[in-house]
């Protein structure tokens, strides 16, 4: 009893501290508290501190979890981790508190006669395996699908890919990273022929300017933002926030520049126009290391089922590219972007000044875009024209949203078109996968099938008859959720959901499998800077909870694929990682051995001769460069990066008389994505208990809407009623409203549009047309 009282008080103290930290974060964007818990722990506390990466976001902060008598009782930043150097944000500090949630899924639940029945895990796994097998026998192997996550660990993604593509022989595997990073992937591949950023977080220590493109880092990547603020304060580095909404990042920046949604394409081209017009091009770099190309235009928006698009790249020369840019003079672009000529020239001047080092950062603003691949290409153009790339403090840097969007979704390859090395369309890559997986080469189909949006459309159409989701909550996170909820509810599809907590997605499941949380299993993540991070299991999970990777292996065994999955329950993480490493052997993507990852707070690939590679494509740092030059973009056969001619094209939907507002959606610092974890952390939930709709004060005044009043936001797809927020967290431009998507009880994704980038297939959550009315 006495111990219970101490635990309760210590819990309340943590909540009190977190409440104050959250309040401070409201006043000071990017504020960071170093861990003082160690000093403040009760005397005599003998905690076992175990290292790992943070569960939330793609930054990959190192954490130390204090374990006492088998329970996680404290979290602090790992001072030895190069990513965060001991710092953590408010989510990071309190992450383990969700484990104690009262509604934690601890046992399998199987729907029988409309009700969920608690079922022993092995019985539930039998049901899932039998159903999957039976569906394949009746309807063919392409009638079953898996939908995983950028929060899946590397082993989890790997065995999912091996089961679906190697064993079953279907490419019906995609993941929620399609919703956040696919445009970055397509951008990297089209420009460099190799995915993931060339630089690393160490760039922050060298850059003179940080230009953030539609990226509220103060809330989404607070630890990195705090590192930038430190450079701003200590040595005068400057932060320029280029966005469609004024946020905490804008307030902390040296300068905030606002643009009309979708016109970032035009502004990027205008910057390139200025760079060329003012003779700021790094001619030697461009001549040696770049080609010019153009692709198809008027490429559509994918709003119709079974939409197909394939780009047709065509080489052009510098003069043709220069001519194309004449449509993008600052004067012309200022007219529709609402960015002044002066500000366009200001941005161009920063990039064009050979004596200033510049890093561009972006995340969802550029990726969740119907021209997401294009805008990624265009920002690369700026860095390539000026030669500001692959050097300390100079480079374009696409940040990830999820902790292993890079490590699992992109590197292991849990997209329909991907394999752990390369793509299913490439025979050589299929042969390598077949060899390592020990399956007949013919097993792996050569054609991609469904990307995320199309996968759930196929569920709705009845083409997919069995779907298994792991570590993700699509019925909160998909755009135009209404259609996909109805699809998942249909009897035509058997739905299996593995998760830690109940969610709107598990609500429609036929079988719910209870998953282990992050520290209740061993695993590996890969963060935004190509850093692979390992952790050991720290505490036991409750009840029948099981690691997702082991669930997949158990299903594979029950389906008759046991010999392809010869892993042991105790060491499967290590055994899988060692098998997976074979895919990436070599100087271009070598992964660090597990012994290294166990000792260090991660290592950056390519890991060559016992060393991380911090800057790829630069011969001074990257041993894979082999052309004898200073730079080598070896992802492309000729070793040259591509400067793409990509025009401005309007958004799929834009405000009109009937729906006069832009709707922009996004995140808040307190909550992780769909909120299934952070809304169960009392202090974070209290700090941000529900979603809201942000207005520009003048729009609110015109509409007669006051702070806190209920407002109905309606699009052509659906509606959502939320309290109004005026002059609080963020400030949208006039004619725009903003709604965060973390709140499952106020589902703004019923309103959003499922239009996507035809190249990356990533949906645009940042732009659709809505009307608003006071309720």
């Amino acid at each position: 009893m006495a111990q219970e009282s101490i635990d309760r008080r210590s819990f309340i103290k943590k909540m009190a501290a977190a409440a104050a930290m959250t309040a401070a974060a409201t006043m000071f964007p990017g504020i960071i508290f170093a861990s003082e818990q160690l000093e403040n722990l009760p005397k005599g506390a003998n905690l076992d501190w175990k290292k790992g990466p943070c569960r939330f976001c793609g930054v990959g902060c190192g954490i130390l979890v204090g374990v006492d008598k088998g329970k996680a009782v404290a979290v602090k930043g790992d001072p030895n981790c190069e990513v965060n150097k001991g710092l953590l944000c408010v989510k990071g500090y309190h992450q383990t508190m969700c484990i104690q949630a009262k509604d934690r899924l601890t046992h399998a639940l199987v729907k029988k006669n409309g009700s969920y029945v608690k079922t022993p895990i092995h019985e539930a796994l039998d049901i899932v395996a039998n159903k999957m097998k039976e569906t394949m026998e009746k309807h063919g192997k392409d009638s079953v699908a898996m939908y995983t996550s950028g929060q899946s660990t590397i082993p989890e993604g790997y065995v999912a890919s091996k089961l679906m593509k190697g064993a079953i022989g279907t490419n019906n595997l995609d993941c929620n990273a399609r919703l956040c990073m696919a445009s970055a992937v397509a951008g990297f591949l089209t420009t460099f022929g190799a995915d993931e950023p060339m630089g690393c977080y160490e760039d922050i220590n060298y850059a003179d300017y940080f230009i953030t493109w539609g990226n509220n880092m103060a809330e989404m990547h607070p630890v990195l933002f705090s590192r930038m603020l430190e450079q701003k304060n200590n040595r005068g580095a400057k932060i320029i926030d280029f966005a469609t909404r004024t946020t905490r990042s804008s307030m902390a920046a040296n300068k905030s520049i606002l643009f009309e949604p979708q016109t970032d394409l035009a502004v990027a081209n205008a910057i390139c126009y200025e760079i060329i017009n003012n003779d700021w091009v790094n001619k030697l770099f461009v001549e040696k290391h770049c080609n010019f190309s153009k692709g198809l235009t008027n490429i559509g928006y994918g709003t119709e089922d079974k939409f197909k698009f394939k780009d047709k790249p065509e080489g052009i020369n510098f003069e043709e590219y220069k001519k194309f840019l004449e449509d993008y003079t600052p004067e012309k672009v200022a007219k529709y972007s609402k960015v002044s000529v002066k500000d366009i020239k200001y941005l161009a001047n920063i990039y064009g000044d050979p004596n200033k080092k510049v890093v561009s950062y972006w995340c969802m603003g550029m990726n969740q875009h119907t021209r997401g691949t294009w805008i990624n290409n265009l920002v690369y153009n700026i860095h390539l024209l000026t030669g500001k790339i692959s050097q300390p403090g100079n480079g374009p840097f696409s940040l990830t949203g999820q902790p292993s969007a890079c490590g699992t979704a992109r590197e292991v390859g849990t997209f329909t078109h991907k394999l752990p090395k390369g793509v299913v369309m490439n025979e050589k890559h299929r042969r390598l996968a077949a060899k390592i997986w020990k399956v007949p080469y013919e097993n792996i189909p050569s054609k991609p099938t469904y990307h995320a949006t199309e996968m759930f459309r196929a569920v709705d159409r009845g083409d997919i008859k069995f779907i298994w989701t792991q570590v993700t909550n699509p019925l909160v996170s998909l755009p135009k959720t209404g259609r996909y909820r109805e699809g998942m509810e249909k009897d035509s599809c058997f739905v299996v959901v593995s998760d830690v907590f109940p969610t709107p997605t598990s609500d429609v499941a036929d079988v719910i499998l209870p998953a282990s949380w992050h520290i209740e299993k061993a695993g590996l993540y890969g963060n935004s800077e190509r850093r692979t991070q390992h952790w050991d299991k720290m505490v036991e999970g409750p009840g029948d909870t099981m690691p997702d990777a082991w669930m997949t292996i158990e299903i594979a065994k029950r389906m008759g694929y046991g010999e392809l999955f010869p892993y042991s329950e105790e060491n499967h993480v290590e055994e899988i990682y060692n098998e997976y490493r074979q895919f990436h052997e070599g100087a271009k993507h070598g992964m660090a051995p597990l012994e290294v990852l166990k000792k260090e707070s991660g290592a950056i690939w390519p890991y060559v001769d016992g060393k991380s590679t911090q800057w790829r494509f630069n011969a001074e740092y990257d041993p894979a460069c082999s052309n004898g030059e200073e730079f080598h973009f070896y992802g492309k056969p000729d070793g040259k990066a591509v400067i793409w001619q990509r025009p401005y094209e309007p958004a799929a939907e834009f405000p009109d008389q009937e729906y006069p507002f832009w709707l922009n959606t996004g995140r808040v610092i307190e909550h992780w994505h769909t909120g299934s974890m952070t809304r169960r952390i009392p202090v974070l939930h209290k700090a941000m208990p529900h979603a809201y709709v942000e207005f520009h004060p003048e729009d609110a005044r015109t509409l007669g809407i006051r702070n806190g009043e209920k407002v109905k936001v309606t699009s052509r797809r659906g509606s959502c009623t939320l309290p109004a927020s005026i002059n609080e967290r963020g400030l949208p431009t006039r004619g725009q409203v903003f709604v965060p998507f973390f709140d499952e009880s106020l589902l703004i994704n019923d309103v959003t549009l499922d239009a996507f980038c035809p190249i990356s297939k990533e949906p645009d959550y940042k732009k659709c047309a809505v009307k608003v009315e006071r309720v």
């Binding site: 009282s5 309340i12 103290k13 501290a17 104050a20 930290m21 401070a24 006043m27 504020i31 508290f33």
Partner: protein
């Protein structure tokens, strides 16, 4: 048994002195911000009366410019 958290703003160059003074107090956990002039404290006392006394003691510490209560709980 009241538990409270506060945000403290301090006078320029007084951070170290203030943190030192706060750490001397019993039942007071101190969390200085790394990159802003702000300190967070969490206090834990046995009774309302002791809580009140501690509050006034805090106000008297040299270098403290402003202190605002963020959350308050009673574990009774």
């Amino acid at each position: 048994m009241p538990i409270k958290s506060y945000i403290l703003h301090y006078e320029e160059d007084k951070k170290e002195t203030l943190v030192r003074e706060l750490q001397k107090l019993q039942n007071c956990e101190v969390f200085p911000a790394k990159n802003h002039d702000v300190i967070i404290i969490v206090t834990e006392t046995e009774t309302e009366e002791l809580d009140n006394k501690l509050y006034h003691k805090l106000l008297e510490i040299n270098g403290l410019k402003h202190m605002s209560l963020v959350s308050g709980f009673d574990t009774k």
